[in-house]
Every structure is written in C-alpha cells, then in structure tokens.
Symmetry: C2
Subunit: 254 residues, 2 copies
C-alpha cells in the first residue's frame, strides 16, 4: 500500500471533524509541514479539500459530487427505484432502500409520500444498525463468522425501551429474520415509528440490498403495518427477479 496516498487520504477523515490549518494537519499526520502542504495541495487540485478565507482547510465540494455520482451508479438502486415509487404510490408511506458495505449499513434511496426526494441525510452515520429493519435483513445474511464479528463490535444504544439491548439479543433477532425472510423495527429507534422490511437478493441468492416501509404509530398501528408485509415482500421479490435477470427486465409496474 502506498505510503504517500495513505497519508493523503488520512487527511480526509481528519478534516471531516472540522477545519484545520497546515500545522495541525502536519502534526496529526506526523509529517513535516512541507509534506503536509504538498499533500493538501494535491487534494485541493482535485477539489477534495477547500481552503477557506482564514487559510484553514476543510473538505471540498467535489466530495459531494463524487458521493452523488456514486449513489446514482448503483445498479440495485437504479433497478429498484421505479418499484419503490410504485409501492409508495399504493401505500403512501416512507420507503427506504439500503445496502451493507464493510461493516456499515447505508441508505441509498428513499421515497417519501408525495415527495419523491432522494435523501442521503443519514448516509455514513452509524444509523441505528442494531434496530433498523433493513440493517437486520442485511446483517442476517452475512456469513456466520462475519455476522458474529460485526455483532460483537457494535454498540447497542438504548434509543427506546424496545431497542436491541446487546449482541446476544441481536444475533437471536438476526436468526429469526433470516428464517422468516423479513424483518421489523417496532419502535426500536423512535418510540412512535414502526417499519417492515424485506430483502432483495441477487442471482446467487445472497442479499444485496434491503427495503423497508416506515410509518408512525399515529397513522397506522404496528398490526396494520404488518398487513402490508405481503406487498413489501412482493415488491422486494420483483426487484430481486429483475436484478438477477430472472424476470421481465423492462417493467416496473405492480
């Protein structure tokens, strides 16, 4: 692995915490100022860092551009999107699409009733991975050792009394999810929000993404939300079929 690049990339998370000047970057990187300067300049030329008026560096706009383009090129997302909006038009609630990647669960699409906005607001954050329905679905499909490893490393914040309390409970929940082929989050993240989710599978049967429907208690009870499960699973299955090439490729209706 390349030392120079390694150092340069280490600057990014450092700046993510907040702006820093040359001296701080050099110190936290453990290199000479002149070295840090050259690295920062290179990052700057690529638009990944930006220099503000006070000469301090912070992350640049190109980063958003990259993240944006990246998410738009995810083929699962592209395939799934019309199905998600179609489902949304029928049932009206918020729909999420998420993927698992190297220890993290990331929302890659969202459809909100009447507002078809893609929102990435939670992206990258440690998003309730211990309670979210999509997270359960994605983790439930991991190979045994990785699943245990991930579960052991996680924190289990008690968002609500119904949040997953610890690794043991989580693994047990994952086993259930794995067996039944769908997942819920009943007030585990926010007291009044319930979710039902289903997995999207690739040609080899592995879970490549997960989708969920969320609704507040005041609109539909948890029981009512569960009656939507068949529709959610049907949608997920339809996406799975198209994604794995086993289905009518150019049709996104119900």
């Amino acid at each position: 692995m390349s030392q120079t690049v390694d150092r340069a990339l280490s600057i990014l998370p450092l700046l993510a915490q907040g702006p820093a000047d040359l001296g701080q970057v050099a110190e936290r990187l453990g290199v000479h100022k002149s070295t840090a300067l050259r690295l920062l300049r290179t990052l700057h030329e690529h638009g990944l860092v930006h220099r503000q008026q006070d000469q301090r560096y912070r992350l640049g706009a190109r980063l958003f551009a990259l993240a944006q383009e990246a998410v738009e090129n995810l083929d699962v997302r592209e395939i799934a999107h019309p199905y998600l909006t179609a489902l949304n038009e029928r049932i009206g609630h918020t729909i999420h699409l998420a993927v698992y990647e190297e220890g993290e669960v990331v929302y890659i699409d969202k459809v909100e009733s009447r507002y078809p906005v893609r929102m990435y607001s939670r992206i990258g954050k440690p998003v309730a991975i211990t309670v979210a329905a999509v997270a359960k679905l994605l983790l439930a499909d991991l190979p045994e050792p990785e699943r245990r490893a991930v579960a052991a490393k996680l924190d289990y914040p008690p968002y609500t009394p119904r949040s997953t309390p610890n690794a043991a409970a989580f693994l047990k929940e994952l086993a259930t999810v794995r067996e039944q082929g769908w997942a819920t989050d009943l007030g585990g993240h926010e007291e009044s929000i319930n979710c039902v989710g289903a997995p999207i599978r690739g040609a080899d049967g592995r879970v490549v993404a997960a989708m969920s429907v969320s609704a507040p208690n005041v609109v539909v009870t948890a029981e009512e939300l569960l009656t939507l499960l068949p529709q959610v699973r049907d949608t997920a299955d339809a996406i799975s079929r198209e994604y794995s090439g086993t289905a009518p490729t150019k049709e996104a209706s119900a």
Copy 2:
C-alpha cells in the same frame, strides 16, 4: 504536487462514472497494472473504493460518510438551519441554502414543508447554476474577473423558454441581482416553479451563502411569492448578523 496522490485521486472521478476492473483503471490512468493495483488497495483501505463480487471496483461508502460529516461541519449551515426551519414553519414552502465553491454551487441544506429533511440529492451536480436564484446571488458577488470567467465557461441549457440564454444575459442578470440585493428564478428551471432568494453575508460584507424559497405556480403565483420577499430578506439578514457575530448569538426565532 504529488504524482502518486494525484494518480490515486484521479481514480475516483473515473470510478464515479461506473464500476471498472483493474485493467481499465490502469489503462485510463496510463500506468502499469501493478501500480493501479497498489493505488486501488490504498483507496480501498480507506473505504473510498469498494470491491464488488465481480472484482470490479466502485466508489465506497466512506465517501458518503465524509460528505455527510463535511456538510454537518459547515458553520453557515449550522447557524442558518434554525432560521430556515422557523421561516418554513411560517410560510410552508421549500427552502434551500447554498454556497459557492470553486466554480460550483452546492446546496448544503433544504427544508421542505412538514418534512424537515436534509436532502443532498442535487449536491455536486451542475445544478441549474445559470438560472437558480441562489446561484445568481452567489455569483453576483464574485469579483468582476472571476464572475466573467465563470460566466464565460458555463453552458446555458434552455430548460425552459425563460432560462438564461447566454453569458451576456447572465452577466446582466447578475448585475441586477447585485444591485437589488435579491434574486428570483421565475420558471427558468422548471416551467411551473418560482423562487425568491436573498444573500447571507459575512462580517466583511461578502456573500458567504444564499437562501431561497421555492413554490409551484399552482400553489402561489409569482406575484404572491414575491410578497414573501421581505420575510426572506429578513431571515437572510438575521442569519448574516449572527454569522458575522453582530447579533444576538443564541436566538433563532422570528
């Protein structure tokens, strides 16, 4: 500037266009495969690229994490947010906050009626920079030479008949915006959407950000939208005062 880092970073926009395998990366980078491999590995270790099952590389989730943290650490955004939501509660329409950075205009916050969602969906994209009210505000404040340079380099896509047609018209519009201290987009991007915006200034009087209110024609006419201008300007001014330290610092009400 560092050659190694330069090459490594050049991989990112390359992968933004879509997944690529080692050979493609090496070729498009003009380096040997083994070199490309080492660079990709380093990027991978930092989570910036991800390797999918077919061994091809694509951009990784850490990129979102960085973009997310970056946007959350922008102090303008942090200061402005409560003002934006307060205004939104009064008038109900969609509110945007944007900044200018090295030739690009980027949305850094958005408040939608009843849905206080931060949406970054347009981030990084060449977002209607020739017609958006916030873009006009930000560009209008650039120093003369840079303004001309940017205007000359832009494309002027005819989104609608009312879109800015060319650089001359754009510069003229910017002059107007600069003089009057506010800007509009009346159907210049989408036929049925109008916007009014106002600038947010730092202590030195320079425009550091811009905000706008958007509403579809069917809800409010352009004339009605313009009656909101005083409120928009007041909000922008209030943010400016707090941002530049000339105001009650811990108050975000109307």
